[in-house]
């Protein structure tokens, strides 16, 4: 019952936003979609797979820069092409990196992913002809299904056609992730997290399962990054910095690690929280750090866990 209520609330909010709230908040909802999608990927790898990556922001950056490079540098405006390219490039890079990293568990895995994320970050500076170096690339708005919507203003584009596009993309990807999590693969992944040795003895090739989760999570992050790039209007090398990877893990843990609704709830909470904090203090990083510490100790299942407890159920 409570699930339906919350979903209903969510649907109502999301459907009404473009009409009811100011464009600023409507755009905020789009960033929420973008982060949610990226976090769904991270949730698969970390929440269900148990592998803490401190470099996944690099895949979000790949998504953002793919949109920027294709759009601004190569004049290709179709967002569908952008998405396909973002997915392919990130998938390819993840396929290579994953082959090295997935054989390690938590500690080495985290260290290696952090390191490779930072190497990618330095790439973004080095190849400044392609990536715009320190200043990044500005991202022009893409065309959706062939329509450029050039007759309406940028704001109207974001709160109008692009809003609905992102919403549908989000719903589709959410449904897909829900399937993946409940599928035999999802179960094998969780089993590999809880007891890798037993899972091997049950006939599951644990390394391969983790590898696949790594690649899928990278693709999700890239798509999320692409959406964010459009709504922000820029691709920036700081997107790939390791603290950004840490931040997205923070948002996920805030929402609820290993919970299906964790990414969504986390992004929503974070978007509101960040908005509020940044307006009121310049020390928002400190606030986030403190919040992360508190959540780890007090509410490891995040807001979703708290909500579940609040409604009297146990998860």
């Amino acid at each position: 019952m409570k699930n339906i209520l919350l979903i209903g609330l969510f649907v109502a909010t999301v459907l009404c936003s473009p009409f009811v709230v100011s464009p600023y908040y409507a755009t905020l909802v789009i960033t929420m979609f973008g982060y949610s999608i990226a976090l769904m990927g991270l949730n698969l790898l970390f929440g269900y797979g148990g592998l803490l990556s401190l470099g996944h922001a690099m895949f979000m950056a790949i998504g953002a820069y793919t949109v920027g490079v294709l759009g601004s540098k190569m004049g290709i405006n179709s967002f569908e092409v952008h998405l396909l390219a973002a997915a392919s490039v990130s998938g390819l890079i993840a396929a290579v990196l994953g082959a090295l990293c997935a054989r390690y568990t938590t500690i080495y895995f985290s260290m290696l992913t952090l390191a490779f994320g930072m190497i990618f970050h330095s790439f973004l500076f080095k190849f400044y002809n392609l990536t715009g170096g320190e200043t990044g690339i500005s991202v022009a708005r893409p065309s959706l299904f062939g329509h450029a919507f050039s007759e309406i203003s940028k704001t109207r584009f974001l709160t109008g056609p692009f809003y609905w596009y992102s919403l549908v993309l989000f719903l589709v990807l959410f449904a897909l992730m829900a399937l993946i999590v409940k599928s035999p693969f999802g179960q094998a992944l969780r089993a590999a997290r809880d007891n890798p040795q037993k899972t091997e003895f049950l006939g599951v090739p644990v390394l391969r399962v983790r590898y696949v989760a790594f690649v899928v999570s990278a693709v999700y992050c890239a798509i999320g990054g692409a959406i964010l790039a459009v709504s922000i209007g820029a691709a920036d090398p700081e997107l790939a910095f390791w603290t950004q990877s840490g931040n997205i893990v923070f948002i996920l843990v805030l929402g609820g690690l290993g919970q299906l609704f964790g990414p969504l709830v986390g992004s929503a909470t974070f978007a509101l929280l960040q908005d509020f904090l940044m307006a009121n203090t310049q020390y928002w990083r400190f606030a986030f750090g403190a919040l992360l510490a508190i959540i780890i100790v007090v509410a490891p299942r995040g807001v979703v866990g708290l909500l579940a407890r609040g409604f009297g159920g146990r998860r």
Binding site: L179, S183, Q187, A188, L202, G203
Partner: protein
């Protein structure tokens, strides 16, 4: 008689310490082979080597006539050679049916199926139900493993390996941690369930001599990495020299 599992001249060293020294034996269809010996004799190393966790320094492991010594545990499991652990290993956050499902899917090669919910796969569903029923756990199908009693966890643990339809299963101290009063019940349930599910032979490491005397068809005595005896229980327990070198007491005698 069909030879199911063959260990041939298995040798395993850790530095200068020899854990297994030219261990050879066959297991044919229909046997319940108990492996006994003092602590440090190499029983767990033997089971681990047969299961694929260790690669022996010399020797071979053959299953169904084919060498499996280079195969990792997951591959051996899919071939029909399964193993369970001494310490109960269940997935605390899984229900019994979810845990048993893992092997069911892996056997059918469906581990990487990502696009349908696991509960929609029909042949697996009935298989899980029948396996769980054979172990007497049908009423616990949707219970979280963390909520099971110790004996139930043991059975569920072994049940999870059964969906692999193994022909032979290696058990490392299956009744350890179970109260003595429950041991016989668990053992009987275990043997009945595995037999009904098509397991043809068992190799088990066990310390409880009464259980061995009652249920095993053959006893292999291991000491310092070498086999010192390989006999049916009546002969094994009837030979005082063998007993002394391995066990220290004969079953049936009252002990303090």
């Amino acid at each position: 008689m069909e030879m199911l599992l063959r260990a041939r001249d298995l040798t395993k060293r850790y530095g200068t310490f020899v854990a297994l020294n030219n261990v050879s034996f066959d297991v044919t269809k229909g046997e319940v082979v108990a492996v006994v010996g003092p602590n440090g004799a190499g029983k767990t190393t033997l089971v681990n080597t047969l299961a694929g966790l260790h690669v022996p320094d010399a020797g071979d492991v053959l299953f169904e006539g084919r060498s499996v010594v280079t195969l990792p545990p997951a591959a051996r499991a899919r071939r029909g050679l399964a193993r369970s652990f001494q310490l109960v290993s269940v997935y605390p956050s899984f229900t019994v049916s979810e845990m048993v499902a893992v092997g069911a899917f892996s056997r059918r090669g469906r581990t990487f199926n990502m696009l349908r919910p696991a509960s929609w796969f029909e042949p697996e569903r009935s298989e899980i139900a029948s396996v769980v029923e054979a172990f007497g756990l049908s009423h616990r199908l949707d219970t979280l493993c963390s909520a099971l009693s110790q004996g139930e966890k043991k059975l569920a643990d072994i049940a999870s390996a059964m969906t692999l339809r193994p022909r032979l299963i290696l058990l490392d101290e299956p009744t350890s941690g179970i109260a003595s009063s429950d041991k016989h019940r668990i053992m009987e349930r275990l043997l009945a369930a595995t037999e009904s599910l098509g397991v043809e032979s068992l190799v088990l490491v066990e310390h409880d001599m009464e259980l061995i005397a009652r249920y095993a068809t053959r006893v292999i005595g291991l000491r310092a990495g070498e086999i010192v005896a390989d006999l049916p229980p009546s002969q094994f327990f009837g030979d005082p020299d063998v007993i002394e070198s391995i066990v220290g007491k004969v079953p049936g005698h009252a002990h303090g």
